[in-house]
Structure formats: C-alpha cells, structure tokens
C-alpha cells in the first residue's frame, strides 16, 4: 500500500467540511474546503427504460435537476452535487446515459449562469462486468460501453467520476452469507484490490486526459450489502463492522491510482480514507432512509464533506417531488453544520460530538466510525507491508474496540452476536500477510468455478 502515515492523525482534526486536500470543481465548489454540500442522488419511479419511454426518462431527469436546484436556490444553498448513478440500460447503451448528463448539465449551467448557484454532476456508471459469470474483469467486451460512458459522459458535463466496481463480488456474496471473514478478505484484499488497480488506472487516465475529477469508488456491493443484511438481522453486526474496515484497503486503491475525491456517498469506509489520504468524502445517514435503513444516521455526518441521501425515486410526495424534498432535508443538515463551522472550532466540535454520541454505542458499525476509533483503526490499516496485512490489522483493532466497548458495558450485544467475536478473531489471526500464501490457503476452500484468477492478474 502506498500510504504509510496518516494525513489526519488526531481525532479532533477529522471534521466535517474540512479535508486536507480539498477538491475544487469547474463551477466553483470547494469540496472539503470549509463547508459541507448536499449531494442529491435519485432514480426513476417504477418504469421500464426502452425506446418507447426514453422521452419520459429524459423528462424525469430534467425535472429532478430543475426541482432540486430551484429548491437549493430558494434555500440559499452554497452548492450542490447531483449524483447520476446510472441504471443498467444507461451504461449498456451509453448514448442514453450521455444524453441524460447533457440534460442535467444544461440545468446546472442555467442555474450557475442565471443565479450563481454552483452545482456539479457526479457520474457513476454501472460496472457491467458482473453480467458475466464468471466475470471477465480484464477482457470483457462490457468494459467498452462503461469506458465510453465515462469519457463521453464527462465531456457532456459529468465532472466527478465514480463507480461501485465489483471485482471480488463473485466470492464475497457467499462469504457474506456464511460470515466467512477469510472469504471476505480474499474478495476484498486480493481480488478487489487487484481489480481496483486495473479499473482505476483507466478511469484516472481518462479524467486526466480531459481535466476532470477522478473521485472515488465505494465498496457498496460488499460492505453496504453487509450493513443492510445486518440491519435485517441476517448476519451479525460485529461481522458487518469488520467487513467495513476490510473494505478500506480495497477502496483506497482508487486514490493510489489517481482518484482525489470526493469518495462516494455509500462508502462508509470514507472516514478512514479521509484520515489516511486527506481526500474529501461523501457520506449518507439518516437522510438515506428512503433507500435503506442503517444504524449510523447521525454519526455518518461526523467528518463528511458531502451529505447524501443514497437514492430516491422521482415520485410525488405531499410537499412536492421526492428528490426536491430530499434536497431540502440535506440542505438543512448541511446548513446546520456550516453554521457550526462558521462559528468556529469549538462549535463544530460540539456538533460533531452530539452526532457521534447519539449513535456511537448503539451498534458496532457506528462505534468504528467515531473519529477517535477511525484514527486508531486507520493507524493499524497502514502499519503492514501488504494489503492483506493492513486489512487484517485494521479488522483486529476494530475487534479490540468492539470487545472493549462490550466488556465495559457501553455497547450492548446479544449472545447471538458475541458468539461470533472469538470465531472472527481466530479466523483473522489465521490469515497470512503474504498474498501468495493467502491465495494458496484459500483456493481449496473456494468454488473456483465462480471466478477466473487470470482476470485478476493471478
């Protein structure tokens, strides 16, 4: 791993709205430069996407962008990011996605020119490679439309480039359901890391070519899936917390390959990335309940630079269309944090403390996001020589923190949960630091028909 010391090494310096390496955008947002901005994410209502519905699809996205920016203007917003996370058809047929970026960019430009409201589009194409099983991570023809959408979409106005890449998902889905921490480690710290190196070299090169922003890549299909499964009580929360920590070594690879932030909203690994690399991040919490439930509604805000709602359908609510309503909710949250920042360090620290204290001991996944724990875990995440060693060290430190909080009585865990604590520790400690040794150890235990090692350069 490239990073061997933390850019932020004190919990008090891990603060919302402030990142050591802020990102400046074309229309003047300075993400991480002293203010938090809303990041609105949205999707279509229940409908098909085909040639007969394309006009309506385009109308939906135009309405969403106009509704959101008009409301932002009314609320004196300092700026907005619109995340365009494409639906499959929009990446499979890039012209659909490109047209939608154009439509929304025109709206952004109109509000900028006429009213001075700065906004940018985060363009997040789908990782189509998971359509093929076993996936052809490096040789799939499906990479072509993905890269076409990245390139043409950024030229159409998608300035911040992100993806939720899926390298390793062939292994992680089953590992998640079996609470197999070694399988997860293989999926994220071996396959995931290698695929991230491959895909982010390409994305960063395109961004550099066109002077756009390679932003980041969240472990959505891994760690967020774990969080949602834990929320449904399918798997233990202690396991989901460790999956989150392990996902850091996979998501940080985007930064190593040239991404500069803001890290994507559903990457709750963002606080660790911010501490280690200094990039700004996006997070989602209570205002993402429209898309999924979580145990980290307030604490997720503690050190974020963009505040997101994950995704909401363009449907009518009593107040107006749902994306407009969510933009308002996000704006009031960021307005509060920005007022705290304006009033000075003492006030922002008090607000952060309230956000942290209200969640921290309610769930292990919240516990690990407390700034002092983020720093402790981040120190462990960089002390080894390999991605596997770092992921293992980070997970063991997280486990120490969880056990300490449980033993002190601050964190309540059911017997069902605590049964897993020693099992997870033994499993983690059995993992060798060396990648070759780990691969050799894991291969006999995995269904090798599900993935192709050569597609990961192995």
């Amino acid at each position: 791993m490239k990073y061997n010391k933390l850019v932020i090494d004190k919990p008090e310096d891990l603060m919302f709205g402030i990142a050591p390496n802020p990102v400046k955008t074309r229309r003047g947002l300075e993400i991480g430069g002293g203010a938090v901005y809303a990041e609105l994410n949205f999707t279509l209502p229940t409908m098909s996407i085909n040639k007969d519905t394309l006009t309506r699809v385009n109308q939906h996205y135009k309405e969403i962008a106009e509704g959101a920016l008009e409301r932002a203007l009314h609320l004196n917003s300092k700026g907005v990011v619109l995340e365009f996370e494409t639906l499959l058809e929009m990446t499979q047929t890039p012209s659909i996605g490109i047209e939608l970026v154009k439509i929304m960019n025109e709206v952004c430009e109109k509000y900028y020119q006429q009213h001075g409201l700065a906004s940018e589009i985060r363009l997040t194409p789908n990782d189509l490679r998971e359509f093929e099983r076993p996936a052809l991570q490096r040789t799939s023809s499906l990479l072509e439309p993905m890269m076409e959408l990245f390139e043409e979409g950024m030229l159409a106005g998608g300035d911040l480039l992100s993806i939720e890449s899926t390298g390793g998902k062939e292994v992680s889905d089953e590992a998640l359901m079996m609470c197999d921490i070694k399988g997860l480690m293989f999926a994220l710290a071996v396959l995931g890391v290698r695929d991230m190196q491959f895909i982010w070299k390409k994305i960063s090169a395109l961004a550099n070519k066109h002077n756009k922003i390679a932003a980041g890549d969240s472990a959505c299909g891994f760690a967020n899936t774990a969080m949602v499964l834990a929320e449904k009580k399918y798997i233990p929360t202690v396991f989901a917390a460790l999956v989150r920590v392990i996902s850091v070594v996979r998501s940080i690879v985007a930064v190593e390959e040239g991404a500069i932030g803001p890290e994507k909203d559903c990457g709750y690994e963002g606080p660790f990335l911010k501490a280690i690399t200094g990039i700004p991040i996006s997070m989602e919490g209570k205002t993402a309940a429209c898309a999924h439930f979580s145990p980290i509604g307030n604490i997720a805000f503690a050190c974020t630079d963009l505040w997101s709602n994950e995704s909401v359908q363009n449907i009518k609510l009593l107040s107006g269309m749902a994306p407009t309503a969510y933009l308002e909710q996000l704006e009031y949250d960021v307005r509060l944090s920005n007022e705290a920042l304006r009033m000075g360090k003492t006030h922002s620290q008090i607000l952060q403390q309230l956000l942290v204290n209200s969640d921290v001991y309610t769930d292990p996944q919240a516990l690990i996001l407390a700034p002092e724990n983020v720093i402790k875990i981040s120190k462990s995440l960089i002390k080894g020589d390999t991605y596997i060693a770092n992921a293992k060290n980070g997970a063991l430190t997280a486990l120490d923190i969880i056990e300490e909080a449980y033993n002190s009585g601050q964190l309540k865990l059911s017997d069902m949960e605590t049964t897993y604590l020693p099992i997870l520790r033994v499993d983690l400690e059995s993992i060798p630091d060396d990648e070759s040794q780990f691969v050799e150890m894991m291969l006999p235990m995995l269904d090798q028909s599900k993935f192709i090692l050569a597609e990961y350069g192995l």
């Binding site: 996407i49 058809e89 099983r133 499964l229 069902m416």
Partner: protein, 222 residues
C-alpha cells in the same frame, strides 16, 4: 420417533454435516447428517420417513428460528448443508421414485437484474422444506422460465427483483408464464415489490420474507 431419527434431525437443525465437520463446536467428533442417514437406511428406516420425520421438520424449526431472529443466516446455511449431505445419501431413492418431494419450485431473478442473495435464501429454505428446487440464476428471460415450466409440469415459480426498473420486468415474465401455462402459480419477492404490485401484474402470491414463501407453498402442497 426413533432415537436415530431424532439425532439425525438434530444434526440438520444444528448444521452438523458429517463427522469431520468442525461445526457446531458442541457436536465435534460426532456422526453428522451424512453418516446418520446412511445408518438409518441400513437399519431399514423408510427413506420417505427419513425425509418427512427427520429432515423437513428440522428445517422447519430452523426456518422458524430464523424468522424469529433467533439465528443468523450462516447457521441456517449450515443446516441446509447438513440437509444437503443427507440428500446425497437419499438421492437414489428420489431417482427411483421411492421418495416424493412436495413439488417442484422454479426460481430466478428476472431479466435485467443481477441480485441474488435474497433469491438464494428463498431457494435454500424451500428446498429444506421438502421441495425440489430449480434455480435459474439471475437475469433470467421470460422464455427461460416458460421453457423450464414446460419441462417440469406442475411446477410453481418464484420471481425475484431488487430494482424499481427491473420489478416491471416481473409483469412481462408473469404474463408470459400465464399465457403459456395459465394454471402455473407465481410468487414474487424483492425490496421494491408489494402485495398491490403482485395483484396488478397477475401473480398469485407476494411474500416479504423467505419463510412466508415456504408457508404459502406448503399450503399449496397440502
């Protein structure tokens, strides 16, 4: 119930696959579902009785514990593995028709959608309740469903989708199934769907959780 059947049922309930399997720790070194199924057959216990008195009730208990949040999925999967080990031993009896399942259940995630965790859970629980399951995987076309129904007359079909833009494909699949085979029952599930949507597309059942599908199927079979 014989002591052996009771022991076998416990092996499935607690996920003891075979003698060598380390899980669960409290049963380490003991015979598992595989060995005890072999032993039961050797002792002349009827294969259908092994299925109906040991395996299916064990999985019913597991499903109940899961739906009451008393166990996590991994424990349920270990039970399914233990049941699978017993089924390997019983396979010849299924082939010869000595054992009859409750029916055939065809399951898949509809075209355009790649999510499979929920679908896999449902498939596993239904298999554990004594049904023969054909899992068509993800991104499954209407044609594939119809073709598989033709090959398995009387089968019940389960459709899964996780996205608001793919749940609409359930309607097309359901329509294709009903056109080709009006008597075929269709159940749907997935985060964005609900009972109203089920009725709107002409499906026969919606369940928000795997246990609900099992209960509906068992009512159909009874």
């Amino acid at each position: 119930m014989s002591e052996l059947i009771k022991k076998l049922s416990e092996c499935v309930e607690f996920g003891k696959v075979d003698k060598n399997s380390p899980f669960p720790p409290q049963m380490k070194g003991q015979d598992g579902a595989f060995e005890l199924t072999e032993q039961a057959l050797k002792e002349g216990i009827d294969s259908q009785a092994i299925l109906e008195e040991a395996l299916v009730p064990a999985m019913d208990r597991v499903g109940k514990k899961f739906s009451e949040n008393k166990i996590f999925v991994p424990q349920m999967l270990m039970s399914a593995k233990a049941m699978g080990a017993a089924m390997v031993v019983l396979k010849p009896y299924f082939m010869s028709g000595d054992i009859k399942t409750k029916g055939t259940f065809i399951i898949g995630t509809v075209f355009g959608d790649l999510h499979d965790i929920g679908k896999n859970l449902v498939a596993m629980m239904i298999e554990g309740s004594g049904w023969s399951v054909i899992d068509l995987g993800v991104d499954v076309s209407s044609d594939k469903f119809v073709e598989t129904i033709k090959e398995n007359p009387g089968a019940v079909v389960g459709l899964s989708a996780l996205l608001t833009t793919t749940m609409v494909n359930m309607e097309e699949v359901t329509q294709a199934i009903k056109d080709a085979s009006p008597e075929t029952k269709v159940t749907i599930g997935g985060a964005p769907v609900n009972d109203d949507f089920c009725k709107k597309i002409g499906a026969d059942n919606y369940s928000p959780d795997p246990q609900g599908v099992v209960e509906w199927l068992n009512k159909l079979a009874s």
